[in-house]
Point group: C2
Chain length 373, copies 2
């Protein structure tokens, strides 16, 4: 358990390294279509809290890292909106991916820039498209993780599974590495990709597994060494880019090299094969805001269990998510339905089919209906 009497400031002072937050914010989030669009990805939307997901990601970490310590890696087209949403992050802290190549190249690129600030610094790789209820506890565990990372570990935050999900990867705990700042860290025994239902059930019952949160904490120098060792082709490409950083060729080299970079996730590319990997299991009230169904779980509901943005007139209507800022939505006898009206498109989908919203996006892509993408 975290030491509740110790404040953030004290903990931060205890750390002897620079800490950087790296917010990865390049995805699009097709399962939140029609609100998420090519030019308006999930993380730039206010999904009901009054703040966009990117703003919430910033709010969560700024007390710990300060504006100067927050870096964002994203697609160039999103930067103007992000700058508007969070003007406090310095413009120089935006790292632009020419295109999405998966989390491994994304993190590698960011590491090059952070290395110039402090190769011994600890980078916390965070996401802008997850919901975290317990922000204070989250900051505390990041500080604890940074201390574990100082000794050379690749640290991942492990989420206490709330149900035997088949939609997440799982991290199996090995031997204890001891307790830091009230949190116990473990050597990772094994990463397992999205398991089948039976395996997921077994994992949850064993008590030895956490969900893979996709949030990682490590020294910049350590992750770069891992790239060199485990992903040498990517490392060579990164070095080519690195040589051009700060020169007039920087952008040209990046634009030339990047399309040749192999798409890969950090989980497959590094985490599953690295040696010194640690996990800190923690219950920070984390949710993958992966679909409209998750939003139904997270956002405050009215007396009928409906999550409503806009005007709703319901008779016998329960457990629905209604998003319709401009139009009255009237429902009779509707249960567990998602109704999203964006002005040009109207989505109707039962919550249990929320994952399949991406099928609609796929169909629109196949049909070349750009106006809806």
């Amino acid at each position: 358990m975290p030491n509740e009497t110790v404040t953030n400031v004290n903990l931060a002072i205890e750390l002897e390294v620079n800490m950087f937050a790296l917010i990865m914010a390049g995805g699009s989030g097709s399962r939140l279509w029609p609100r998420s669009r090519k030019n308006q990805p999930k993380q730039l939307l206010d999904l009901g809290s009054g703040r966009t997901m990117f703003q919430e990601a910033y709010d969560r970490v700024v007390p710990l890292f300060g504006n100067e310590g927050i870096f964002v890696v994203t697609s160039g087209e999103y930067v103007p909106m992000m700058r508007q949403q969070v003007p406090a992050i310095p413009a120089a802290n935006y790292i632009i991916e020419p295109s999405g190549r998966g989390t491994a190249p994304c993190i590698g690129l960011a590491a090059l820039y952070l290395q110039r600030l402090d190769p011994q610094g600890v980078m916390c790789v965070l996401t802008a498209d997850h919901y975290i209820q317990k922000a204070e506890l989250f900051r505390q565990v990041l500080q604890a993780a940074a201390q574990v990372a100082e000794s050379g570990y690749l640290v991942t935050l492990g989420i206490a599974p709330s149900f035997p999900s088949t939609g997440f990867g799982y991290v199996q705990r090995g031997t204890s590495l001891g307790t830091v700042g009230g949190f116990e860290a473990f050597r990772v025994e094994k990463f397992t990709e999205k398991p089948d239902a039976e395996t997921a059930q077994r994992f949850c019952e064993s008590g030895m597994y956490s969900w893979n949160s996709g949030m990682f904490i490590w020294r910049v120098s350590v992750i770069l060494r891992e790239f060199e060792k485990l992903m040498p082709a990517l490392y060579a490409q990164l070095m080519e880019i690195d040589a051009a950083i700060g020169t007039s060729e920087e952008r040209i080299v990046l634009e030339r090299v990047w399309p040749q970079v192999e798409k890969q996730t950090i989980d497959y590319g590094i985490m599953e094969r690295a040696e010194d990997v640690a996990v800190i299991p923690v219950d920070i009230g984390w949710s993958d805001v992966g679909s409209w169904a998750t939003l139904l779980d997270i956002l405050p509901a009215d007396g009928d269990g409906n999550v409503v943005t806009g005007q709703h007139l319901g008779v016998d209507t329960h457990g629905c998510l209604i998003y319709s800022p401009d139009r009255l939505v009237a429902t009779v006898g509707v249960e567990g339905m998602i109704v999203v009206d964006t002005g040009d498109v109207l989505l109707v989908c039962p919550r249990k089919r929320a994952q399949d919203v991406r099928e609609l996006v796929k169909r629109l892509q196949e049909e070349g209906r750009e106006e809806y993408l």
Copy 2:
């Protein structure tokens, strides 16, 4: 069975009386909200066929009655739209009810005007909010009914029940009155209001019951005599109006008398209590377009059983009614759902709850939200 070799024209020549069609078109149709509104009632809407229900009612009867023989009783506010939709009906053939007082006063008022044209004429009381698939057969049965009406009967068309509905009234056949123009007429044994499910089942199995179509055929003089006998108070009020017809006082008297008229249906007021009532059972492909669910049954569906107006992108979507002329409607995993988008309002309702759309209208009325009524 009707004599298919006899054409309409020949049949019409056989009749020795004037025939008038009286299209009752004063209702609003709250179960088709949000398309039906106070200022745009059901009968003035094109619900998917390309013609409005009023236009279809006209199309069905004009071959038999001609433009001059078609009369419309409705609310004054609807007349401009009706004149626009069917310019061929003479303006003088519109009979205005100052307010809706039920079908008995409505028919009584119309009878006053038709009496001046020919008291011995036969008036066919028809509706503008029903769908009739077999228009040719419908015209034939009207002609047969007119011949039965000539002998003084109040004739009703009995619809062959397609299922044991608890939503319609039933007409029980008595002794046969013989066959006219290929149709057998029966003395009515009894009218029964909307029965419970068990009774409806028994009615359907007996083969002796028809649905009460709400369409009636009688001589003008005969129905007025019935009003005098069975609804004397209404008859006195009608006579007061009658005395003013054609004078400068006509409108003033109508506006004064009408609000005092008791609301009553022709079924309760006359049909259930009159002596010489006949029914002609017929299968004209009749549907009460009472709700969105009926439209799903009537309108042509696509390969997935969806009735679509506008643009629809569906994955695993079946048996839905989608009306959205301006917006793309995208659905995943939706079955038997009604989705109606009118620009200002969006309705979502499972087909089995289609009757309860009026609950929404009631709620809007209670809340005084005129903009949606």
